[in-house]
């Protein structure tokens, strides 16, 4: 059997994507999870059709998500696993890190993949 190669296209395609998870509550959402998901929904409305990550990050809901601190990182990674989106600013602001390789700047799927790998290494994401 050939060795399994983990790459951005495999990560975001079932069934591999189903193997990754944050180990967060699978049933009833906690208060923190509820707050986060409400802010995510609000952020996607607030940001409108902008092409600027800066404008997206300056919305009140995104700033509130950043303000939730380290506790929100697994939730962001879980959200990013489902839908690669513009969480890079928040992750950098909260963690002070940036695992994205220079050649992948602007490649959103590859950037999200780098953060999910970072999460695996830091045990913020687990293989179920």
């Amino acid at each position: 059997m050939p060795p399994f190669e983990l790459n951005p296209s495999s990560l975001f395609s079932p069934p591999i994507v189903l193997l990754l998870g944050t180990g967060l509550s699978g049933g009833m959402e906690t208060e923190k999870e509820q707050r986060f998901h409400a802010l995510v929904e609000k952020w996607r409305e607030e940001r409108g059709p902008t092409s600027s990550a800066t404008r997206m990050a300056m919305t009140p809901s995104y700033q509130q998500i950043i303000g939730m601190g380290q506790d929100v990182v697994p939730l962001i990674l879980e959200e990013m696993r489902r839908r690669p989106d513009h969480w890079f600013w928040a992750l950098q602001a909260i963690t002070g890190e940036d695992p994205v390789r220079p050649e992948n700047r602007g490649k959103v799927r590859e950037m999200a993949f780098a953060w999910l790998l970072w999460g695996l290494r830091r045990q913020r994401v687990t293989v179920r």
């Binding site: 059709p49 404008r55 940036d98 994205v100 602007g106 950037m111």
Partner: protein
Amino acid sequence: MYLSPNDFPLLNASNHHDQSPEDDTYNCIAWALNDNSTWWDPAPGDTYAWPDGLPRELTLEVYVSLFQRFGFARCDNVDLETGFQKVALYAYDDGDFAHVARQLNTGRWTSKLGTWQDIEHATLDVLGGPYYGRVACILRKPIP
């Protein structure tokens, strides 16, 4: 994404149609450059694709410089010209860049609406308003 009159007051069913689903992975700048795999953005922190040496600012002039690096030059009209690709840059009243649309070979225009869908629109003015301000600059480059 349903485009409501609150989003674009001048847009209606007769002057545009959707060309794609929503997509977070490329933006209007990429789409104007015929690229649907990159998010071009001057956001701080060297996060996204942005040319070396170009200021990481949201001003219209910086975005004009970005397109100049791809071979575009200023021109003074939106007319369809054989042998040229045209793009139209929108800006807010404060001079910041807001959006860019690319002309199709029919004379109509195509736009990627941020993380929303691509649309084809009959004219440039239909995207004017609170989200994208107004057209501030037209650029063109020879088609090889």
